[in-house]
Symmetry: C2
Subunit: 229 residues, 2 copies
Amino acid sequence: MRASVSPDTFPPRGHEAKRLSIVDTAATVFCREGFAGANIDLIAAEAGVSRQTVYNHHGDKEKLFMAVVRDLTERCNVGIFATIATFPDQPGDLEADLIGFAVRLNQNCICNRDGKFLRKLIQTEGERYPELFAEWREQGPGRTWPAIAARFARLAYGGHLVIDDPDVAARQFLGLVNAELQTTFMLGGTPREDEVVQSATNGVRTFLRAFGKRPTAASAKKHATLANA
Amino acid sequence: MRASVSPDTFPPRGHEAKRLSIVDTAATVFCREGFAGANIDLIAAEAGVSRQTVYNHHGDKEKLFMAVVRDLTERCNVGIFATIATFPDQPGDLEADLIGFAVRLNQNCICNRDGKFLRKLIQTEGERYPELFAEWREQGPGRTWPAIAARFARLAYGGHLVIDDPDVAARQFLGLVNAELQTTFMLGGTPREDEVVQSATNGVRTFLRAFGKRPTAASAKKHATLANA
DNA sequence: ACAAATTTAGACAGTCTTGTCTAAATCGTC
DNA sequence: GACGATTTAGACAAGACTGTCTAAATTTGT
């Protein structure tokens, strides 16, 4: 037991670094092999620590798994809210701004390592850990959807969109901009950037045809230009 | 009088009946536990046969898994094409007909047992069996998407929709009508029928705002807007 | 450099799983 | 009822994995 120099003692840097390395590696292995197929020896080896260290830090396999999910959920949430903060509240070019937002959301939250891993763990092990993933549901979708919907509501209030139900519109927005990436997501793949941009572009155009104000002459001209590009 | 494992499954009679019972039960267990976590003893017990019978029929665990995926893929394809055949080529009420089609697609192909299981197996084990799931990709999405897109193209050709790219429209149609079911799908749940209908209704309405012919008032407004520009 | 904390390698028991084997029981069919 | 094919229960070997333990090596703070 460490003598407490200060009320809240921080573990040594090496100690914490190992903890992170273990959780990171465990995320990779759990995703690749599934919970049952994941092997503590393998995780330890890939993390560059001994098996005993894994047990010292996390107790047992199940606790390690919990730590992985909590870690991923937290980091993904940070990324999502950081990206939501870039939502175009006062759009200059609404189409381009929404495409940019959709691409950022995909690249920073859905297609990146954390997003892919969290999605896969939820899909594969979600039914086995109801309370853990109930927590995820509250912290994740339960907070991010209202936040996104609120941004669309503000756009509608500002007269940039014609939206009846902002919650529905928010979900449909994501359904549309990801419409062409579903098969890739299904197999755990990562779409190329140009595929993300393509899907977002097509999705936003359809979204604006449904929810946008009638195009003025200027934006109609812009449409034509982008379409020809 | 023999005691059966579960009250709703009768002990199968006959060679082929046993084979089917094994594959069916194996699908359930593979989905619930993952490939590594699935236990042959458990599959045998739940299927109401002895472990040796499982090995007699399917050789080993991996061959059993392959048989499960092939079985599911084939049955899902049959269901999807049967449902595509009900696509409204000559719609009376386009909105109602498309909603009906979307609901049928969801209930008969995506939310039913085979669809749920196949999706989960692809998500969880797809990366481990590239050639097996490449086959699925060809037989499944590779054939169903063009078939659906062709139906939308015909609707557009018949003057019922205004569609630029039928492939994009088909993918966006599914993205829209499933937009509100994503979280449920993620956790492996089955949405209630009223949720499916709600999501389909909202999705089709948005789809038609984007791709539908404008009713007279709206197209008049459109003309006016363009004329004023 | 010293002392405490941490990490390491390896052995270890206990458990589980796969896949094989055998002899008895059961089923389908005549 | 009888015969051949199938199924069954159970034993079995071989291997894998988890989680614990120990003693030695290493790192960290002072």
